[in-house]
């Protein structure tokens, strides 16, 4: 076995199943840091040693900082050289929801793992002597062809308002960097030297804005943007049917069995010209079923991140304990919500009393009754409250999240070292790296040299 990655290899990860909705997803991780990273973010019960070659582990991927469970997974481990790539390798089998996949990838990237490029696992396998030339040849055509995976990478190009915001922040730092570099490179020119207090101030302002941006950004979400509207309601209150009726297609699996929808199902949708993301949640109720309870937790989290909530109540049944729980939950969230009294084609049994303080619309997904009124109401509301929110709404890919996190980390570190006192030549290097990282978020060129801008802005003449 030829082992050549000793000095230079980094660790990479990628989703190996086709992008899109599927029941299960598979993320491959390969490289020398594979197990070190997984030890931090993979938790499992039992005392078996981790990792082990050709072994599987049942557990959770967690967010390292908070310990929050991201998904329940089965993890397969392969030790070098006995793996597909010849390196230490792991395969994470998880739920197919794009949001979950993105958040798990994002967690890996936060720990220094890099997004694998198209065909990289195969290339690594070849270089480690795991494949012969013929096999590679057969694959190479595939690798050089524009693939779906590459096309989907276009999703990582940030567009529109969020991009403008990051660019604005970046421009501000570029301004400081150009000033600093001009004074460092051309000390005898009449260039004001850098005021470190002003720089520190600008840096911490940028840091604040980036952190706000980070909070606003739907961390790790690969799907494109829109105001998030969550459908909430007791199981079988008609959420999936409403979603389908609004989208005019069979999207969610609709059955009479409560709890059928266990993942968040998301759809991009426009109300007139306002982009929204409709999310159908699992019914919120107390449950003993483990898998379903994960879905319920996720639904609650979905409500937390939502811009507004459509609360569904089955009007053909009396107001139930679960309905009451939902009402309490909604009131506790302090988010705008609209009560939809569903199944209006059936006899009205729920009563007006529980909704006397809230706006209600009676609808029927079966007959279409009330759907137009719902759309009009939503449009008016979104137009009034949502547009400014939309501007703050940022959807980042996993790579971009990694760059954003890195920029925040670098800014914090720079501010810290500046407080202790470092030389300006060091500040220049750090600032340059931050500018480069921000450029990666908006997909700008990573080659940045302040010299070009110096000559544009200063009359260098000595």
């Amino acid at each position: 076995m030829r082992k050549m990655f000793d000095n230079y290899s980094d660790t990479v990860a990628a989703l190996s199943t086709p992008p899109g909705k599927a029941a299960l997803g598979l993320i491959r991780v390969s490289g020398p840091e594979t197990f070190k990273v997984l030890e931090k973010i993979f938790k499992y019960e039992g005392k078996r040693p981790f990792p082990r070659s050709f072994s599987s582990f049942f557990g959770y991927i967690v967010e390292f900082e908070t310990g929050k469970k991201l998904d329940q997974v089965i993890l397969f481990t392969y030790e070098a050289p006995n793996s597909y790539t010849g390196e230490d390798m792991a395969e994470i089998s998880l739920h197919g929801n794009p949001t979950i996949i993105a958040s798990v990838l994002s967690e890996l990237f936060n720990h220094g793992v890099r997004q694998a490029e198209a065909g990289e696992f195969t290339k690594r396998a070849f270089l480690n002597g795991k494949m012969d030339l013929l096999e590679v040849e057969a694959l190479s055509q595939l690798l050089n062809a524009p693939t779906k995976a590459q096309a989907s990478m276009a999703l990582n190009q940030l567009e529109g308002l969020p991009s403008a915001l990051i660019n604005k922040l970046r421009e501000k730092l570029v301004e400081q960097l150009v000033q600093l570099d001009a004074s460092l490179n051309f000390p005898e020119e009449d260039i004001e030297s850098l005021d470190e207090k002003l720089l520190a101030h600008a840096l911490s302002e940028t840091l604040d804005e980036l952190q706000l941006f980070k909070r606003n950004s739907q961390n790790g979400s690969l799907v494109s943007g829109g105001l998030s509207i969550v459908l909430a309601g007791a199981p079988n209150s008609g959420k999936s049917s409403l979603l389908n009726a609004l989208l005019n297609k069979e999207r969610a699996i609709v059955t009479d069995i409560p709890g059928t929808t266990r993942d968040l199902i998301e759809e991009n949708f426009q109300i007139r010209n306002i982009p929204v993301r409709l999310t159908d949640t699992a019914g919120i109720r107390k449950t003993e079923n483990l898998v379903e309870s994960i879905g319920v937790d996720r639904a609650k989290a979905g409500i937390e991140n939502a811009f507004m909530i459509l609360a569904l109540f089955d009007s053909s049944e009396p107001f139930s304990a679960e309905d009451s729980d939902l009402m309490n939950l909604l009131e506790s969230f302090n988010k705008p919500f609209l009560c939809l009294l569903t199944k209006s084609d059936l006899p009205f049994k729920i009563g007006e009393e529980p909704f006397k303080n809230h706006k209600t619309i009676k609808i029927s997904s079966q007959t279409g009754h009330g759907l137009l009124e719902l759309k009009d109401t939503l449009y008016d509301f979104l137009k009034e409250k949502g547009l400014s929110e939309l501007e703050n709404m940022i959807v980042l890919g996993a790579k971009q999240t990694a760059s954003l996190n890195k920029a925040v980390y670098l800014l914090e570190r720079l501010l810290e070292s500046m407080a202790k006192g470092i030389y300006q030549d060091m500040i220049s290097i750090d600032l340059e790296e931050i500018v480069r990282e921000l450029g990666k978020i908006t997909g700008q060129t990573v080659d940045f040299n302040s010299l070009d801008l110096i000559f544009e802005r200063f009359c260098i003449g000595k």
Binding site: F5, K123, N144, L184, N185, I422, S428, L451, I460
Partner: protein, 628 residues
């Protein structure tokens, strides 16, 4: 030395590039001929009288560390030495010398004439001789011919040079000397592509005609030391000051009034000139709202009656120059001795020469200096040194030599320059060097002297001295590394007394010294180093402290630097076999780049093609094998 018609190495031109090239070649034991159009203008500084500054000063230090001559010559002839950027950090800190132009020329001329293996000859080369696609010799206008194996052309701004002053133009080189005519035609005939570049110089005025009371005096630093390692702690006690004055609204008015007579406006000169050193007319055109521009009044030499006006470069006609001077405080009555002028000259077209300075079309033919599209004496000298070294390496069938861009400004210069394709000359600044925190003024010998010694440019004795000094610092650094301060009560108190935080666990001396608030002496005393063993020399202490304080940064860049270093050692083009596995895994773009003669090494190709991290990893894995 007896006259002969064959010299293994011939150098044309005795400017800053030519002098270094000829000296390097001769010092490496090769019989060398240096042909110059005028022996009395060897090592002429036709423009500003200063050498050094950030980037440029680093080059001079490195030239000295690698075994070149410029550092030594500047040190011996400077009329002022000054540190710049001292407060902004050791990586951008640099010396700048005001040179005595006359003494510099004289000193360098003497060095050339006393150098073994080197013959200097006055002559005007009009033709290069080629045999089977390789350089074979030169012919002079007198009809004399010399044959050679390697030719280094350092024609500066002389090649088909035209002087431009307002609407007037005539053939002429710097300071109205003769232009080098005929040679361009010969080069073109043999397939060398040329381009036109321009530059300009300010008027020189009579020292006794200025009023220094209206200007700010700018003295030098006595304790700046010199550029050469041996001169690092030299004291410069008899320095001459420069003066600073400013333009004002009247100056701008005068320039604007005469703008119609500016070559820039008349467009009787190419627009491809140095944007880092614009003429006063260009400044006013580009920044019309800017009123105050600095003008540095600099001595041309200790005994010279001429002053140089840094910042007033122009090719505008004499009347304009007079009108402009009349508006500047202190220069109202200045007597102009030589008018400023613009000059247009032939340079090698971009992409035509390698990092070794060898031409891509003609084997054995090297170019260095301003002809390669740089500006500045320092850049020229550095290229001359590299060209001289490589001519000899090739002559001896040895590997080509270029320093890595991760470890020197010279490396950055040759790497950038061989790919430089902009409509302006290249000037080195720290901004070009991404690893500048590693390329500090204080570390030039640590980075380059071993290479200089291996090449044969450093004498045994010189190298021994430098090595001993390096060893002394290294020993002290390991001593700091291996001595640990425990978190005992008395140590904590001592730390607090020094205004620094307590320690939680035992900490070694290097880690302590990385704290910005601690210096070497304090650290050594905390660690109870015996008094008699402490470093005393302030320069030594500075070097040690700087080395340690920058370690964290160097550590962060280590991985990137090691990949670049590896890729720089892989020369292109690569002859890939039909069955080479690389053909299967690399993109077509990268494949064709590494098999073409467009780049000198793998790093250049990667950088140029914006190669992704994944492909870099593949390449690194592939090339770190012994055979491929």
């Amino acid at each position: 030395m007896k006259n002969s018609d064959y010299f293994p190495v011939i150098v044309i031109g005795a400017g800053h590039a030519g002098c270094e090239a000829a000296l390097a070649s001769a010092r490496l034991g090769v019989k060398t001929l240096l042909v110059t159009m005028d022996i009395s203008t060897i090592a002429l500084m036709p423009c500003n009288p200063s050498i050094g500054g950030p980037g440029k000063g680093h080059l001079v230090r490195e030239i000295g560390a690698l075994g070149g001559e410029m550092a030594n010559c500047v040190d011996k002839t400077a009329v002022q030495m000054k540190w710049l950027n001292t407060s902004k950090g050791p990586a951008v800190r640099s010396r700048r010398a005001q040179s005595d132009k006359i003494m510099y020329r004289r000193t360098m001329t003497n060095t050339l004439f006393t150098q073994d293996n080197l013959q200097v000859r006055q002559g005007h080369v009009t033709e290069i001789l080629i045999s089977h696609g390789e350089i074979a010799g030169i012919r002079l206008e007198t009809g004399l011919a010399f044959s050679c194996s390697k030719l280094i052309l350092t024609s500066g701004t002389y090649l088909e040079a035209t002087i431009v002053l307002g609407k007037f133009k005539w053939p002429g080189g710097p300071q109205n000397s003769r232009a080098a005519t005929g040679l361009s035609e010969s080069l073109i005939k043999h397939g060398v592509a040329l381009r036109r570049l321009q530059t300009a110089t300010p008027p020189r005025i009579l020292k006794s005609s200025i009023d220094i009371t209206q200007m700010k005096e700018l003295p030098g630093d006595e304790n700046s030391g010199g550029f050469l390692w041996e001169h690092r702690t030299d004291n410069y006690s008899e320095q001459i000051p420069c003066y600073l004055t400013y333009t004002n609204e009247d100056t701008v008015k005068a320039v604007k009034k005469h703008l119609p007579d500016s070559p820039l406006f008349l467009e009787n000169i190419t627009d491809e000139g140095p944007k880092h050193c614009p003429s006063i007319d260009r400044k006013i055109m580009k920044f019309p709202d800017l009123i105050t521009h600095q003008i540095f009044v600099e001595p041309e030499g200790r005994a010279s009656q001429e002053l140089y006006l840094q910042g007033l470069t122009t090719g505008m006609p004499p009347k304009a120059q007079e009108d402009i001077l009349k508006t500047v405080p202190g220069l109202q009555n200045a007597v102009i001795l030589r008018y400023g002028y613009a000059i247009e000259y032939d340079a090698i077209a971009p992409g035509q020469f390698r990092k070794t300075m060898e031409n891509r079309v003609i084997k054995g033919f090297y170019t260095a200096g301003q002809i390669n599209g740089t500006s500045g004496y320092e850049e020229a000298a550095a290229q001359g040194l590299i060209a001289g070294i490589n001519a000899v390496q090739a002559l001896k069938n040895c590997e080509p030599y270029w320093p890595s861009r991760t470890s020197s400004y010279i490396g950055v210069l040759v790497d950038d320059l061989s790919l430089w394709d902009h409509n302006e000359p290249y000037r080195i600044t720290p901004g070009h060097a991404e690893f500048r925190l590693n390329l500090r003024d204080d570390s030039a010998e640590r980075r380059l002297s071993e290479e200089g010694f291996k090449l044969g440019l450093l004498t045994n004795e010189r190298y021994k001295h430098i090595e001993a000094w390096k060893q002394k610092l290294d020993d002290e650094i390991s001593k700091l590394e291996n001595t640990v301060l425990s978190p005992a009560k008395e140590n904590q108190q001592a730390l607090l007394a020094l205004g620094t935080a307590e320690i939680k666990k035992p900490v070694n001396g290097c880690d302590l010294l990385q704290r910005p608030e601690l210096n070497y002496e304090q650290t050594a005393r905390l660690l109870n180093f015996p008094e008699e063993e402490l470093l005393k020399d302030s320069h030594d202490i500075f070097c040690l402290e700087t080395d340690i304080k920058y370690r964290g940064y160097i550590e962060r860049e280590k991985e990137r630097m090691s990949i670049i270093k590896l890729f720089e050692t892989i020369s292109l083009p690569l002859a890939l076999s039909e069955t080479s596995p690389l053909r299967k895994v690399l993109t077509p773009g990268l494949l064709s780049a590494i098999s073409s003669d467009k780049f000198d090494d793998l790093w250049q190709a990667c950088k140029h093609l914006h190669i992704t991290k994944s492909e870099m990893t593949i390449l690194a894995a592939f090339f770190s094998r012994t055979s491929f």
